[in-house]
Amino acid sequence: MGNTSRRSFVRKLLLAPETVLPPAGDRTLVCIFLRGAADTLNMVIPYGDDEYYRLRPTIAIPPPANGTTGLRLDDFYAFHPNLAPLLPAFNEGRLGIVQAVGTDNPSGSHFEAQDQMEHGESYGHTIGGGWLGRYLRTRAADMTPLSAVAIGPTIPESLRGAPTASAIESIEEVQIKTPSGNASGVASVLSALYAAEGEMVGQAGKATLHLLRRVETLRGAVYTPENGAVYLDDDFSQGLKEIARLAKARVGLEVACLDLGGWDTHFFQGSTSGLQADLIRQLADGLAAFDKDMGAQRDRVVTLIMTEFGRRTYENSSLGTDHGRGFALFALGGLVKGGKVHGHWPGLAEESSSQTDSLNPVGPSGLKVLIDYRSVLAEVLTKFLGHRDVNQVFPNFHPEPVGVVW
């Protein structure tokens, strides 16, 4: 954003504080997708429900006590022990959980349910584009090359239709790559050429070159996470590190997407240790480092952690869990109403999961869905990013208040 537009933004802010959107990239939404359908029942443990222990004799996480057990959140819920790194964020009110979130997708297909969620649709009513893509279209005039970034090899479905979206592994890719490596020569010739150019395109050229200089400074400097945050070497943690780096550099990052896969735990899921426990540890380590690193800038970032559906309430004969329905969604950030598990506990009894309604059509059983996932997304869009017309992003959907964002 140029000086003029920032000035005019400030002016607008002073004149009409309620009708102005924050400048693009002042606030960043990070979307983390746990691909494969994460068993959140073993992440946010309903230890207060005896049914949980009856249904999962082998893989259940023991209730809070001494030793390797659940970590108490309140009188009913506990964290998986490997979520320990996130306990401070929960206790300090930055990490909130929304229980029993989900889609109305009855197919039990990872692919279909992921697509539906990333497109922001209800089952069988496709809209076109991803929900983030549609949101970003409403802000097309403010986009920079780094407004929407997916860390990874491909642009996710949620960003389909975005005015610009970059799939990058790291900030290293945000540069003009010339065969000779004479990047400064190129920057100066482009700078001279665009300086002579008329208003709109000239401004955009200047802004892009400015952005590149900023990123180059970042690239040149070794990035040191703040507040003693330590990112581990795995792709997930390193991806979060790049996101923190971009968010702090104020390069216009509005939306960032990152995946953590491997949650399809049909076989030998494990309990306090094992397959899923390792993934939970990876998730928690990465997010805790990110939370720590963002430090004083936590109010600028909301991170949503979602999955396509939860798993069955009961363990199967191969000590894993099969595809289910509702899941617990995590939200992390300074403006998140944390320290709380939002939403009602639907219960695990057979009768509660066998009753059908619009959110729970016939299909794989599991935790009953009480909150349409779009209600959470819509709340983040309106309350955190200041978006005004949810209908542009989720046509014909009427979000329910969730209360997970201040």
Binding site: P145, P179, S188, V201, G202, G205
Partner: protein, 498 residues
């Protein structure tokens, strides 16, 4: 081209098509280069400080000049060139066909694509579109295919659209792109892909109390014909939707084909835009509705405005819009007559270098100017996706915006595209740079003055040439120097515009 040569091409085409697909791309490349896409030995260069009028015409009515196009157009004269382009069936396009015809899915009848996997369908229609834009000699047709694809936007990712859009592209868009507007709209109204995209197939009246699904009817009036300020009312939308009830898609046998179910049609009288569609019209209601909507004066104005915006300027000159609207009315929406009016107008001639190229046009015009050899594989498509203009990927019915602002965030990726293209670092794309440079500059190739004239269509300004000269000083001696010089021209603001 004489008929003997054409026969040879056809024969070679058959040979190429008969070969197994793997390995034949190289053969197609060499055959097409040998027979039609060779760079002429000498290229004349525009030498005025303003953009050459022929270059301007090729930048707007085509996806930019291919080496030699400028000389061809100058020899023909622009009026004759326009007339030839308005009769695409008279232009031999075998060379392009060799590359673009071989995708199976684009030839299927409506509803027969369900056996293919989605990635195959997506890839084939996308590659076909890009290859036609790049290599077709029927350039104005391709530009208009792009225009109507936006105007009657369908997103592949909605519902079953991906299975149905190939037929829509061929039978609606391509068939009527230079035809009569009313026939285009009529074909689109019951095109299976459109019936899915805008929920027309759900629009029915089963019980007396059933209300119609207005989605398509609304967009028909708001986007496809009258325009949002075209003077229709909510009642018009409702009545139009009633007229459209009963059009269905088969689900089992012959899945995806259209039929009219009289029992789901609201066969009462309708009043749309002040006119009456009498009761009992059944399946002909749609014909009457399309007729009424297309004949409305707002439609002439709306289509004229959009066309003038595309071909002339983001802020369409009112006088030209009015003339084009008048031609629309007097010719019953003859698209060729509209284009003729626009392309021969003073407003068109005066509006040189003012339009910001959208990513698709930027990439295609780069590759055409560079005489690139490509079969449009995914690595190339990725650039379009990154810049937010993947073909058939626009989510909402209004189509990719024809304005500057939404595309300004894409400059960095354009610059990287320019450097990768010119230096032959685009995977699966080959650029004959040395050969091109010799055609441009003879014995002293890669002079900035000549490169500017060739790529921009006018002499470089003093400030442009000075900036490039300074860059030359910083880069002389590097083996990539020549390619980078070309890249700088392609990355310059002048090449972002047309």
């Amino acid at each position: 081209m004489d008929s003997k040569r054409r026969g040879l091409l056809k024969a070679l085409g058959l040979i190429a098509a008969a070969l197994p697909l793997t390995g034949c791309e190289r053969l197609i490349s060499s055959v097409t280069q040998e027979l039609g896409q060779r760079i002429p030995e000498n290229l004349s260069l525009p030498d005025s400080s303003e953009i050459d009028p022929s270059f301007h015409l090729l930048s707007r009515a085509a996806y930019g000049p291919w080496p030699g196009d400028l000389d061809t157009l100058r020899a023909m004269g622009s009026e004759q060139w326009i007339e030839e382009q308005l009769s695409p069936e008279t232009i031999d396009d075998t060379v392009c066909d060799l590359r673009a015809r071989r995708f199976e899915t684009i030839w299927h009848e409506p509803g027969t694509c369900y056996e293919y996997k989605k990635p195959v369908l997506r890839e084939e229609i996308t590659r076909h579109t890009l290859l036609r834009a790049l290599y077709s000699k029927r350039q104005l047709l391709e530009v208009m295919v792009g225009f109507w694809t936006d105007h009657l936007n369908i997103n592949l990712e909605k519902g079953d659209c991906i299975y149905l859009k190939p037929a829509d592209d061929r039978l609606v868009i391509r068939t009527h792109a230079l035809g009569r507007f009313r026939e285009l709209i009529r074909a689109s109204a019951t095109s299976p892909a459109m019936l899915v995209y805008l929920d027309g197939k759900e629009n029915q009246k089963k019980e007396p109390g059933d209300v119609p699904n207005e989605n398509y009817a609304r967009e028909l009036l708001e986007l496809h014909t009258l325009g949002v300020d075209g003077g229709y009312t909510q009642t018009d939308v409702y009545e139009a939707a009633r007229s459209l009830t009963g059009w269905r898609l088969r689900t089992g046998w012959r899945k995806g084909t259209v039929y009219f179910d009289q029992s789901l049609h609201d066969d009462g009288e309708k009043r749309v835009l002040g006119q009456t569609i009498p009761a009992g019209g059944g399946a002909t209601d749609v014909d009457q509705l399309v007729e009424i909507a297309c004949n409305h004066p707002s439609t002439a104005h709306h289509i004229a405005t959009k066309l003038v915006r595309r071909f002339v300027s983001e802020d369409p000159p009112a006088a030209l819009v009015q003339r084009v609207a008048n031609v629309f009315t007097s010719t019953d929406g003859d698209i060729k007559a509209l284009l003729r009016t626009i392309l021969t107008s003073d407003e068109f001639r005066a509006a040189k270098g003012l339009k910001f190229k959208r990513p698709f046009q930027y990439i295609v015009s780069c590759l055409r100017a560079l005489a690139a050899d490509t079969h449009a594989h995914q690595q190339l498509i990725e650039y379009l996706l990154r810049m937010g203009q993947g073909p058939f990927q626009y989510p909402t019915p209004d189509g990719y915006p024809d304005r500057t602002a939404p595309w300004l965030g894409t400059l960095l990726w354009r610059w990287n595209f320019a450097f990768n293209a010119a230096s032959n670092h685009l995977p699966t794309v080959t650029v004959p740079l040395e050969q091109l440079a010799e055609a441009i500059g003879g014995k002293a190739p890669f002079q900035p003055e000549q490169l500017m004239s060739y790529f921009i269509g006018r002499k470089g300004s003093n400030s442009e040439l000075k900036a490039i000269a300074d860059y030359q000083k910083s880069n002389r001696g590097d083996s990539n120097y020549h390619a980078e010089l070309v890249a700088v021209v392609l990355a310059s603001p002048a090449f972002q515009r047309c």
